[in-house]
Symmetry: C2
Subunit: 407 residues, 2 copies
């Protein structure tokens, strides 16, 4: 088998952990597998480098940020290769550029456009374990780029696709994908498998185990992902194409995000281009908008509500007050600095019309008021008061019987 493994920064945070990862890689190799290992920067390396930058330049060029931050992974791959070499296996480290990770030119958030895997394949054919720097690639100027958030997961999946690997294992500090956050609901159960689409929704909804980009890439190329812990040998959760319609389990998991803020703009003229102007202004000023809901209250005017991360709310409010209200001739706005978003996810949902009602019942039983509702084919999200968040997660987990064994 050809297996691509990815280890995050906490898995290689110090020499002891690096040796532990090396031992795991060597064992897999000695079972007769070809192994490609993608690693992130050690623990706090990236943060330390960013601290240095703050003392030098307020607004550094993105290209130079990539030049700087890509050193973090380069340190990890060299050290891991040394640890594996010390255990007697043939091994070589490769930077993203050396591994043939070709990207577009957008520094600090480049997207992978091609995998030129000739060298990597050659090293594997020569019997070596290949250690590849995650998070980085090479653009058409021969410059180092970085992939932005979720970059190392995406490197691993893209390499797995480029090499037609049998499996891509993503090692993290959790055991796998749970029906909900075990810190909020101790009865949460680890899922043995989950579909790409469900995982995508969970990833978008803040489950945090995998980045949506990586899941998307795995789905497109049909690469099975195994999400598991680097601190034990337990199997984790397999992300793959699953036909959920033949199962009783309609809802797969409950996700939450407690760091949400909400803005509502009311009495917006009901004419074309209004939404464009609002969200263009926010995007141009780097405010990331999450959910958007528009509804008509009375003739000729609309209400538009949206959520942002709490870290963006001050900037968003300034833009609304100083620019957007006048721009779109709105009547005014409301905001809530701290709300929670709780979602249920399940591929079987689309064929089960009663799921939404069941969800709202659970929340009503807890006397939880709904501020906003948004839905997609495989998830339903509600925005509720911040202090209701944890209780909502627990109630939904119970209502959909997620702690029980799957049928």
């Amino acid at each position: 088998m050809l297996i691509v493994q990815k280890y995050g920064g906490s898995s290689v945070a110090d020499p002891d952990r690096i040796r532990r990862v090396a031992r795991r890689v060597v064992n897999l190799r000695r079972e007769g597998n070809d192994v490609v290992v993608v690693v992130s920067a050690m623990g706090d390396t990236t943060d330390d480098l960013i601290e240095l930058v703050k003392r030098i330049a307020a607004n550094p060029p993105d290209r130079e940020m990539d030049m700087l931050l890509s050193t973090g992974e380069q340190i990890s791959i060299a050290l891991l290769a040394m640890a594996i070499h010390a255990m007697g296996e043939k091994v070589i480290s490769l930077t993203g550029p050396q591994a043939g990770i070709i990207t577009n030119d957008v520094h600090t958030k480049a997207r992978i456009t091609d995998i030129q895997a000739e060298r990597l394949r050659g090293e594997l054919d020569a019997g070596k374990i290949a250690i590849v720097a995650g998070f980085q690639g090479l653009n058409s100027n021969n410059d180092i780029t970085t992939l932005g958030r979720g970059g190392s997961d995406t490197t691993a999946v893209a390499l797995a696709a480029g090499l037609r690997a049998d499996m891509c294992e993503i090692y993290t500090d959790v055991d796998g994908v749970y029906t909900t956050d075990p810190r909020l609901a101790p009865e949460a159960r680890k899922l043995a498998s989950i579909s790409y689409d469900e995982m995508l929704e969970l990833a978008h909804l803040g489950a945090g185990v995998l980045h949506p980009r990586a899941v998307e890439c795995a789905k497109i190329h049909g690469i099975p992902l195994h999400v598991r812990s680097s601190f034990n040998q337990e199997p984790g959760t397999i992300v793959e194409e699953v036909n959920r319609m033949e199962k009783d389990m309609v809802v797969t998991g409950v996700a939450h995000d407690l760091n949400v803020a909400k803005i509502g703009i009311f009495d917006v003229p009901d004419i074309p281009g209004v939404a464009y102007r609002i969200f263009k202004t926010l995007a141009d000023n780097s405010v990331n908008v999450d959910d958007i809901v528009q509804s008509s209250m009375r003739d000729g005017v609309n209400n538009i509500s949206f959520t942002v991360a709490q870290s963006d709310i001050r900037r968003a409010l300034t833009l609304v007050e100083e620019k957007i209200l006048a721009d779109v001739k709105a009547g005014g706005y409301t905001h809530e600095l701290e709300v929670a978003k709780v979602s249920i996810v399940g591929a079987g949902m689309v064929t089960n019309p009663g799921v939404a009602a069941l969800m709202f019942e659970a929340l009503a039983e807890e006397n939880i008021n709904l501020v906003m509702i948004t839905t997609s084919d495989i998830k339903i999200s509600v925005i509720i008061k911040h202090e209701d968040g944890v209780r909502a997660v627990q109630a939904l987990h119970r209502k959909f019987n997620l702690a029980g064994e799957p049928a």
Copy 2:
């Protein structure tokens, strides 16, 4: 003018110093010059990385050491480029590979074989200051190599040669090249200029300001070097082709190395191949031999003496006892664990037969006994007792009147 500058690790050890270097570079640019800047790794970065390695592998592959250590300079170039960008100048950082530093395949001590300066020239033509990582290059496998000791100086000189620069400035933590070590002889005088050959001898003799490799490369390509301090604006010492025969100053400087040990092998059969066998054994076991002296005491047998660094003496003695004595059928050996090497250097020496006598007179006046003597066209070295070292430097500096103004 096209000027290549090189700043060592202590000059970029922290954000304040990086900004100070940036200010210097920007000033030079604003005077209308094209500027290429070569930098080393910040202060202790390299040592910190080596510490990490020690906790992971006893005998790491050289290729992986290069992969690891080359990150140090990559961090420096990105940070310096950010600092210069923040001052409003166009700037780009380039790794050794990006700057076209092509080397042979000998990891950890590669030699530069070619400079492919197309990209660097293009960036200069586009009006940018170019910041290049010292100490590193690219070999024919597309792997990162490092140049070993003196690497960053050599990078700077090689780039100056490849770009046909007008001047190569080497910034260090000293003001320039002195007639001797000012810590030993406070009356030591900074030289305004010195010839390549004299600088080469001084570099080999432990003067420490410049690495012999860099001086050699500058001599071959006729690149004038300006050795100066990054902590002030004073002119330093220019290393260039100088015709010393028209000057009165026969001796340019006094060099010393107090960390020397000496081994003498006596009654060695006077047959071909003996020296080869002795020094091959030492070289194969990584003992660096400095001076070698052979003399005949009586018919048919020779004495061979040599010096090594004190850090190598234990290993050297073990090799002599366990292998070399039997190998060459020698009568026995003597050794001195701590001796000093003191040398006078001057291009005019070859035409002044009295110089050696004057040197020995100075040492005799101080009642200093000579253990070994070696000479070249432009230097005379003596090995003396360790405790006589400092006194010898001071006596020679006085005897050759080096503190006085040059004629």
